[in-house]
């Protein structure tokens, strides 16, 4: 189990950042993803970035809108 923005999210072997974004339908482009307090450096790396079990994941949508 991991948390995404404080909510529980099922973990599986090989889970990537992109898998989380797809499952949550986070389609906004201006995201900031942090895992256990550290940033994922590149948005292009989401599909290749593995998320460890027990991780605290923050998916921050930059404000935009309006």
């Amino acid at each position: 189990m991991i948390t995404v923005n404080g909510e529980e999210f099922g973990w599986r072997e090989g889970l990537t950042v992109q898998d989380i974004l797809d499952a949550k339908n986070y389609t906004f482009r201006m995201l900031s993803v942090w895992i256990n307090g550290g940033p994922v450096q590149s948005r292009e790396a989401y599909a290749a970035t593995l998320v460890p079990d027990g991780a605290e994941v923050e998916v921050i949508h930059m404000i935009s809108g309006g």
């Binding site: 906004f28 942090w34 994922v40 450096q41 921050i60 949508h61 930059m62 404000i63 809108g65 309006g66």
Partner: protein
């Protein structure tokens, strides 16, 4: 055109962002008593009110009394850009604010627009333009900055008096040749403004590549209605001497350096971030749908299966690509999208090919999903006619959405609507209603044109419609129709819409992602802090003449890794840019915290102003039930598991309850949360429980002018104090 009055003046050049003079034009009181004055700008005015909206509010405060109504000759339209307005080195620097007493909200309103008017006004010698009185005939006010002359002209325009026609005509009339047209900017409304409270002001710039006048709208609040009520067909300004140093900046090199950095960001990253250059704000259509934020059928639902039909790609295909679409020189973000020649299929210009500015997101949603229409061609046509007729597309969209729901609920019927069948999605009849509003064709269209708040009163009075139901579903606050985001699942955005100075317009705070998705505002204190910071930060743009979009619709490459959480959302590097360019223009030495204080001062002054006009208290911060959650069963049943979960979070077990009971329970719970939010926000803003700034607050901010203090001493009650 016949000259009714004229006045020669010596234009003052802008130095450090200010000409230190404002222009007053009085139109008399239907008596032809035209007056012109240059008025000095004091150090106190600059220090306390900065420019733009701040100048507008101060000048309007001095012009009106507590008894002044929107259609009183005393009411003014004040247009001002601000010290940064007119620079060409940084994107989005041609904005101005129009301030006036609004027919919709019966208090102050401020509405922003791009276009060339404010920069050309400044370079013609004026930090602000005050227009007061009512003309004795239809006039055009013309400021010729090249010659140093102001004229009031009898309009003499026969026939079509709508925005595109008037603007095109005046660019032609005042220009010496084709090349000269770009040196002119026109402000106009349209025929609808004569009987609608939704009258918008269209600010022009000339597009030399397309060889047409383009229009940017100060859409909201009824500024166009005030303009027409004054007997003014249009304002026009001409100034041909525009350079990168026309503002007289203290440090031009810094402006160039900071601007160059942001232009590079836009060039390198816009295509993978917000796509403003290719689609503009309509890039939000499918994103809002994905997050249940797209208003569908009067905000009942947040998404729709037909979203593909209004996907941003559909708009991209319909916008001309590869054209520089900035609405002021130097704006590389270029979000002012326009169609190639588009053939109109209805109305007085049926069959004509026109260039349509937009639609932007608000229009694509308001005159789209919110009225149940998923057809970009229809929306583009509705957008064109709204601008042309001088109608605010946001109020029109939200107002029409309310009308459609009333119709579907049977609160009004064909006997009332003049035979129109106004179900959601009825493209032909909804378009026909837009044309009827423009004509003031019948009682129904004239009632609709007065806005949602008056529709509630008049539908009940004249058609026997259920007032209680209409109060629940009309998405208006303080008399203004909400803009096009479904806010009910974000407590913070309840405040972002309904705890604002002027009503539910998204330019104060857009906190939905931060609150609902990112979960960064878990407590009411957190939400209140955001509802302190962001309205104040965003207000700063309106003081200096900047567009908000280059702040956070483009970001530095490392913003999302260098900064975390709310700090990242503030885009710190861009905030520093603003500090640097403000200092570079004005020669001052402010730091980022000063930006908030500048704004807080004007924010509170505006709140006091509204109190002075008989508003500005807790009672005026209304929030409709639709803004808080589902009102009818079909809304709940669209997301039953989600809403059941919300009930459980509230400590209520939904098992065994009917949908009706669930709705009632959730609404009661959220109404309690709303009241909690109101208290926390008021306290954080330095107001009392009744939403009135305290004496301590106005003294801290240095706006403790005798008339402000006197008003507050009469209004503040001990029982309303927080402690």
């Amino acid at each position: 055109m016949k000259i009714l009055a004229g006045w020669d003046y010596a234009p003052s050049p802008s130095r450090f962002g200010y000409t230190r003079e404002t222009l007053y034009v009085g139109l008399g009181d239907h008596d032809g008593d035209y007056r012109f004055e240059k008025r000095p700008v004091s150090d106190d005015m600059i220090d306390k009110f900065i420019g733009g909206r701040g100048f507008g509010l101060k000048l309007l405060w001095d012009a009106v009394t507590p008894d002044t109504k929107w259609d009183d000759p005393r009411n003014e339209i004040v247009i001002s850009g601000g010290p940064i307005c007119g620079i060409t080195q940084y994107p989005g620097a041609g904005k101005c604010y129009s301030v006036f007493l609004s027919p919709l909200t019966e208090q102050t309103y401020n509405s922003n627009a791009g276009g060339y008017f404010a920069p050309l006004l400044k370079f013609s010698g004026f930090d602000a333009f005050e227009l007061q009185g009512k003309a004795d005939r239809e006039v055009i006010v013309y400021i010729d900055g090249d010659k140093g002359r102001i004229e009031i002209l009898e309009s003499g325009i026969a026939g079509d008096k709508n925005a595109y026609a008037v603007t095109e005509c005046l660019h032609e009339y005042f220009a010496t040749d084709e090349k000269d047209k770009k040196n002119i900017s026109v402000v106009s409304s349209g025929q609808a403004a004569a009987h609608s409270f939704w009258g918008c002001m269209n600010f022009s710039f000339y597009d030399p590549r397309r060889k047409v006048s383009r229009l940017k709208q100060a859409g909201r609040g009824g500024g166009g209605t005030v303009l027409r009520d004054k007997g003014v067909l249009a304002l026009a300004v001409k100034m041909s001497r525009v350079t990168g140093s026309s503002t007289g900046p203290a440090d031009a090199d810094t402006l160039s350096r900071i601007g160059g950095k942001v232009h590079k960001e836009i060039r390198d990253f816009d295509d993978v971030q917000c796509k403003m250059r290719s689609i503009g704000t309509a890039h939000l259509n499918e994103i809002m749908n994905d997050y249940d934020l797209l208003p569908v059928n009067n905000y009942k639902f947040g998404r729709h299966d037909d979203i593909g039909k209004i996907h941003s790609e559909e708009y991209r295909k319909r916008f001309a690509q590869g054209m520089p679409d900035g609405c002021w020189y130097g704006c590389s973000l270029s979000c002012a999208k326009a169609t190639p020649p588009f053939e109109l299929s209805t109305g007085p210009w049926k069959g004509r090919q026109v260039i349509v500015d937009g639609p932007e997101y608000e229009t694509a949603a308001g005159l789209g999903s919110n009225v149940g229409i998923f057809d970009p061609e229809w929306t583009i046509e509705a957008n064109f006619y709204a601008d042309h007729y001088g109608i605010d597309t946001i109020s029109l969209g939200t107002g029409m959405a309310f009308v459609c729901e009333c119709y579907e609920l049977g609160l009004i019927n064909k006997d009332h609507t003049g035979g129109l069948e106004l179900e959601f999605g009825n493209k032909a009849d909804i378009m026909e209603l837009i044309h009827r509003i423009a004509d003031g064709a019948d009682e129904f269209s004239r009632i609709v044109a007065l806005g949602a708040r008056r529709m509630k009163e008049l539908f009940a009075e004249k058609y026997g419609a259920d007032r209680e139901v209409m109060e629940d579903i009309a998405m208006e606050g303080q008399g203004l129709e909400a803009s096009e985001y479904r806010c009910q699942e974000s407590i913070a955005q309840w405040g972002g819409y309904f705890l604002t100075l002027k009503g539910p317009q998204h330019d104060e705070a857009w906190l939905i992602f931060m609150d609902m998705v990112n979960k960064q505002l878990p407590t009411f204190e957190d939400k209140a802090e955001a509802l302190f910071y962001f309205p104040n930060f965003r207000l700063w743009f309106s003081l200096v003449g900047l567009c908000k979009l280059p702040w956070n619709d483009i970001e530095p490459e490392d913003n999302h890794t260098k900064y975390k959480g709310i700090d990242a959302a503030k885009v710190p590097e861009h905030v520093q840019n603003y500090v640097d360019i403000y200092n570079a223009v004005t020669g001052k030495s402010v730091v980022k915290e000063d930006l908030i204080t500048m704004s807080e001062r004007v924010y509170n002054f505006e709140r006091v102003f509204n109190l002075r006009m008989g508003k500005g208290t807790r009672a005026n911060h209304n929030c409709p039930s639709r803004g808080l959650g589902p009102v009818f069963e079909d809304e709940w049943l669209a997301r039953p598991d989600y809403f059941d979960g919300k009930l459980r979070e509230a400590g209520c077990e939904p098992e065994g309850m009917s949908a009706r009971e669930k709705i009632k329970t959730l609404q009661a719970h959220r109404r309690g949360q709303w009241e909690q939010l109101v208290d926390k926000v008021y306290e954080r803003r330095g107001w009392n429980r009744n939403g009135i700034p305290t004496l301590e607050t106005v003294r801290r901010l240095g706006i403790d002018y005798p008339d402000v203090v006197g008003l507050l001493e009469r209004s503040l009650k001990p029982e309303d104090a927080f402690r």
